[in-house]
Structure formats: structure tokens, C-alpha cells
Subunit: 150 residues, 2 copies
Amino acid sequence: MIEDLGRAMIEALEEDIREKFRRSGYTLTSQRRAVLDALEEAGGHPSTEDVYLIVKQKNPRVALGTVYQALSVLEEIGVITSKHWAESPTRYDLNVRPHLDIRCTRCSQVSEVPGVELGNLESQIRQNTPYEVQSTTLVVEGLCPNCQKG
Amino acid sequence: MIEDLGRAMIEALEEDIREKFRRSGYTLTSQRRAVLDALEEAGGHPSTEDVYLIVKQKNPRVALGTVYQALSVLEEIGVITSKHWAESPTRYDLNVRPHLDIRCTRCSQVSEVPGVELGNLESQIRQNTPYEVQSTTLVVEGLCPNCQKG
DNA sequence: TGCAAAACAGGAACGGTTATTGATCGAGGA
DNA sequence: TCCTCGATCAATAACCGTTCCTGTTTTGCA
Ligand SMILES: [Mn+2]
Ligand SMILES: [Mn+2]
Ligand SMILES: [Zn+2]
Ligand SMILES: [Zn+2]
């Protein structure tokens, strides 16, 4: 789980991040670096607002729009990914490998679900539609352990 | 596909609809009937706005808020279902049986994908998360045949 | 037919996101 | 090192889909 990676791992990824910026032509500005750091600090799957609040702690001058734009650039160059759940803002993830996340319908906490195998699902879909399939995403919701007690 | 059902089938469902209203305590008002008719007329998987525009043709006094509320009631009592795709408004469906829909990322047209078997996916998920799973939805996007030519 | 409850029309407000504009930054060349 | 110009940024307005609010109309029911 990305939550457990910690600073050491982030620094191991450092060179990869620089490489992606270099290849894209975008510049790794202090704001984009701050957004990346905030994503790490947030730990889980923060919304833009979550990231904004963390970034503002260290640099109160940063604008919300800048965070939106930074996240969009970071996603475009493959440094982060995003996921959408209904009735919830977009959430971002340092884990760019395909994986399953579940969101609590009560407190919005997102956790990763390991060991789920989608099998031949995508090829099944391709065989049964004339559409050119671009993405198939499994959106899972439920009650987190904490909220089950309530 | 619900698009091919036509008026005969809708009238066959008529009694079922009345029954669901009766059991829920909601009343089948003229506006809710108009929304239902509009869903049928729209044919596919219309958004609230789509439904609103059709309803307004016959009754220009109906308010957009009323359409939102009517669709919400119809969904609550199980007469219709809704689905969400990222970057697209909620879409409604007269087909209340579990099934797969794919949305075109270019023109937003939604079509149903038959013959896809999810298998033990949900039980796999339940085994790998402490969350109490409430819903797992497969969200599929692609390019429809028309838009592939463009 | 009369009354309370439900539903409605119209419009304001809302949350998340994108667009616009002018100021600032910073990489690369003189 | 200093300039320059495109990239980025801050601030704020606008946008879109949706919900909420208020006063009015309709409905089911006694
Ligand atoms: Mn994740
Ligand atoms: Mn459908
Ligand atoms: Zn929870
Ligand atoms: Zn299309």
C-alpha cells in the first residue's frame, strides 16, 4: 500500500519523477514539488482540496487553481493517477500501477484492495461491443471498519 | 436492449410501475408520468437535461428541479436505475436489471454490452477488504462506431 | 367539500472544476 | 551576468450539474 511507503521510497522514485518531467517538457516547479510532497504527506487518496490545505500550510500564497493544474500535469505525465467515485470529488494516488481502491460511503476514506484478479473481463467486453474500448474501471464502495461500528 | 422495446412493452410494464408507486406511498403524478414517457422517448440513457428538454416540449411549465426530483423518486422505488461516468452527468435507464453499459468518450452515447460475466469478482473483493462492500460497478468507456470514423 | 400533506414552479445557492487575466518566474541566449 | 520570452502562477470570475428553499398548487382522504 502506498500509505506505507514513506520518505525513503519517495526519494527512490525521485529520479523517475525528474525523468518524466524532462521527457514531457514541463518544468518541475516549487509548486508542483509541493503538491507532490503534499500527496505523500496525505498518505492515502486525497482530493484536490485535501492537497490544497496541506500545501497551504507551508506556502499560504499558493492558489487552489494552481493545485488543480499541478495535479492535472502530474497525472498527464504519469507521476500520479486519479479516480472518480460518484458523489465525491476526484481523488489522487501516488500508486500508478493498476489496482483496486474501495471508498467508504460514510467517511470517504479510500483503501486499496489487493489480490483481485479481473481475468479476461476486458477481452470479454471487447468481444461484445462494437466500441473501441478505452478504459474499464471497477468502482467499489462500502463501509470501512470504523464506520461499521457507528 | 431497452431501446428496442417500444410502446407495447412499456404498457406491459405499466401495472408493475403502478404497483411500485402504490407500495412506496409516492403518487404517480402527471409530471412523474411525463418523465417516464420522456425516458421511453429518449430511447437510450438520457441525462436529466435530456429528459427535461423532452418533457418541456409537451409541458413547458415543468421545472428542471421537478425532473431531478422525479428521477430520484423513480430510482428510489426501483422503476429506473442510474449510472455515473466521470466527466458526464448522471444517466438514467429504464432497464433495471444488472447489466453493462459503455459510454462514448466523444459523443457520450451509451450502449449496452451483453454477455459479460463478472464471475466471482465481488466475492474476491469481499475476501480482500475489511470494508463491508456495498456496490461494485464496472465503468466502461470507449469510442462508438460512429466516432471511430471521425 | 374541506383540510392537511405531498408535490410543484421558480429561482437561489452550492460544490467541484475550468477559464481568464495580468503578474511573476526561470531557462537559455547575447 | 543580464535580458528576454514563453511557461507558470495567483486571483478571481464563470461554469455545470445538482440541491435547497419558498411560496403556490395539487392530491388523497375524511
Ligand atoms: Mn490506490
Ligand atoms: Mn443500460
Ligand atoms: Zn468510513
Ligand atoms: Zn461517439
